[in-house]
């Protein structure tokens, strides 16, 4: 029962977001009361749908990079010679999380210029920690008896990793990816301060022109996208269980 309600809710949220992005003008009456007199109610300096697409793309690219690096690092420090690198890896990943993304942007812009690149770097660093820690936890949670059974039957290290450890750790790894994605959808809005295309542009335009309607539509679209991405990965997690 509660599952059906959840499914209906997810579809409704998706439909609302798609409808708004496809034809935002239709929603003008909703936002008009918030706009200053004479100002447009709907963001008119760019196409909302393409901004959302760019926003999604940058978040997904960063998450993909974070996943590859964080999972790779976690696997490296859980076997053989890599174990001694665990404290160092953990410090690095923690640093990525504690260092504010805005500060990363400030440092990255002089190095790689304005645009998508500094944003990607900031999101990548910010998203490492949950994936790394969850992968570590998932790998460590594999019962020793299972690993011994795997070795005892003649699996080599690679076969054990791909056949036993990774599949068993997968639900936890995906949980890390889920967290990282959802957090970065919000964080990506600051990319617009360094001229990366994204929904942050709408919010900043609203702040500059004192237009609450812009701020609300940018924020709403970002929030719904975060919820939907979170749910998409949750769906995937249930599939593999």
């Amino acid at each position: 029962m509660s599952r059906t309600i959840g499914a209906v809710l997810r579809v409704a949220v998706l439909a609302a977001l798609v409808a708004f992005l496809a034809a935002p003008a239709r929603f003008a009456p909703l936002f008009a009361p918030l706009a200053p007199p004479g100002a447009p109610a709907i963001y008119d300096q760019g196409d909302l749908a393409s901004l959302a697409a760019a926003h999604l793309a940058i978040v997904c690219c960063a998450a993909l990079a974070s996943t590859v690096v964080a999972v790779g690092l976690a696997l490296f420090v859980t076997r053989g010679a890599g174990v001694q690198f665990l404290p160092l890896s953990r410090a690095l990943v923690n640093f990525g999380q504690t260092f504010p993304p805005v500060a990363v942007l400030a440092i990255a812009v002089p190095l790689v210029g304005f645009g998508e690149k500094p944003t990607l770097i900031a999101l990548f660093a910010y998203g490492l920690l949950p994936i790394f820690e969850n992968t570590l936890a998932g790998i460590r949670a594999c019962p020793p008896a299972l690993l011994e059974a795997a070795s005892g039957m003649g699996m080599n290290g690679r076969q054990r990793l791909l056949g036993v450890e990774l599949p068993l750790a997968m639900p936890l790894i995906l949980e890390g990816v889920q967290l990282s994605l959802a957090v970065n959808v919000g964080t990506a809005t600051i990319g617009s301060t360094v001229a990366a295309k994204g929904l942050g542009e709408v919010i900043i335009a609203g702040l500059l022109s004192n237009n609450d309607a812009f701020i609300l539509q940018g924020g709403l679209a970002t929030g719904l996208m975060a919820v939907l991405l979170h749910e998409a990965v949750a769906l995937l997690r249930r599939r593999i269980r």
């Binding site: 008896a145 299972l146 059974a149």
Partner: protein
């Protein structure tokens, strides 16, 4: 044949297995028994090189196990452990198919082998192949564990407390099944347990270990009648050693052919029952003589209480 020659394992100053040597005849079950910390599991794991020995060697049919890469060696040796170690994310069929897959068998042969093993362990392939381990009872999981260990058609099967997690009734059944399977497949089994009764029931030979050393490797009856070490006598149990001795002989082997007058109302006992069970039955019924009947219900001799007692006497 498995030859264990001067096998030792040391971790720093700690000697876990200390110069152990014995030979397991082909197509028999050898049981290694000892208290926890006696080194029995470490000994077993040196046979398939999950633990590398500090000294000594293991030969299987004359071939040193150190001669080939460990993962290839292990695919030829069945391995079943306590708590079965089934992969929770794989179905019963996939679990059993593990070693055949590693060996690169064609898909059709793997499917046939999985079905064959499920039948052998009395699990209906239709009902069980697609189930996940958590959907099975403890006894069923244990059987799947044994099926998985046998899947690659190994000549040697290593078992580390395979029945440790089972309740007594299911355990006895699992032991009977193992004996039947071992006879049917003609495999060589080395089994580790802390349970002396299990060792006596399964082992053609039993190795008693304590503190890393092998105290005695003998037939169960010899361990009872001629223990070489006080610890062996303690392990086998002194207070009921006569009854234990009786439990090692089957009614069939002890039955006396008798063509005299019919025994009429003498209680009937199965040929597969142990003398201990026959004695218990006679005491219970207040009888002095039992008729032994085989699987087809045919009388194949009789057993008088005095015959039974003779089997339990110190030799």
């Amino acid at each position: 044949m498995i030859s264990i020659e001067g096998l030792s394992k040391r971790y720093g100053d700690l000697t876990v297995v200390d110069d152990v040597s014995f030979e397991v005849e082909s197509r028999t079950i050898a049981v290694v028994v000892g208290t926890s910390g006696s080194g029995k599991s470490t000994l077993l794991r040196m046979i398939n090189r999950l633990v590398e020995p500090s000294a000594g060697r293991v030969l299987i049919d004359g071939q040193d196990v150190a001669a080939e890469p460990p993962h290839l060696l292990r695919r030829r040796i069945g391995y079943a452990i306590q708590g079965h170690g089934l992969f929770p994310h794989r179905t019963v069929a996939q679990n059993i198919a593990t070693v055949p897959r590693l060996l690169g068998w064609p898909e059709q042969r793997i499917g046939a082998r999985v079905a064959e093993l499920l039948e052998l362990l009395q699990l209906d392939p239709g009902a069980f192949a697609g189930k996940y381990p958590h959907q099975l009872s403890g006894g069923q999981q244990q059987r799947v564990g044994v099926a998985r260990a046998l899947a690659g058609d190994p000549k040697v099967l290593l078992m580390d407390e395979p029945f440790g997690a089972l309740d007594p009734i299911i355990r006895a059944k699992a032991q009977d099944e193992l004996l039947a399977i071992q006879r049917r497949l003609g495999i060589t089994v080395v089994l580790v347990t802390h349970d002396m009764d299990e060792a006596f029931k399964l082992g053609a030979r039993v190795a008693v270990m304590s503190q890393g050393r092998l105290l005695q490797f003998d037939r169960p009856a010899t361990l009872l009648t001629r223990p070489e070490d006080p610890f062996v006598a303690r392990m086998t149990g002194i207070s009921d050693r006569a009854l234990k001795l009786l439990s090692l002989t089957s009614a069939r082997d002890a039955a006396v052919a008798d063509d005299g007058p019919g025994l009429g109302d003498a209680p009937q006992v199965a040929a597969t029952a142990s003398l201990r069970e026959v004695l218990s039955e006679l005491v219970w019924r207040g009888a002095t003589r039992a008729t032994v009947v085989d699987e087809r219900g045919q009388a194949c001799g009789s057993l008088a209480i005095a015959d039974i007692l003779a089997h339990g006497r110190a030799r």
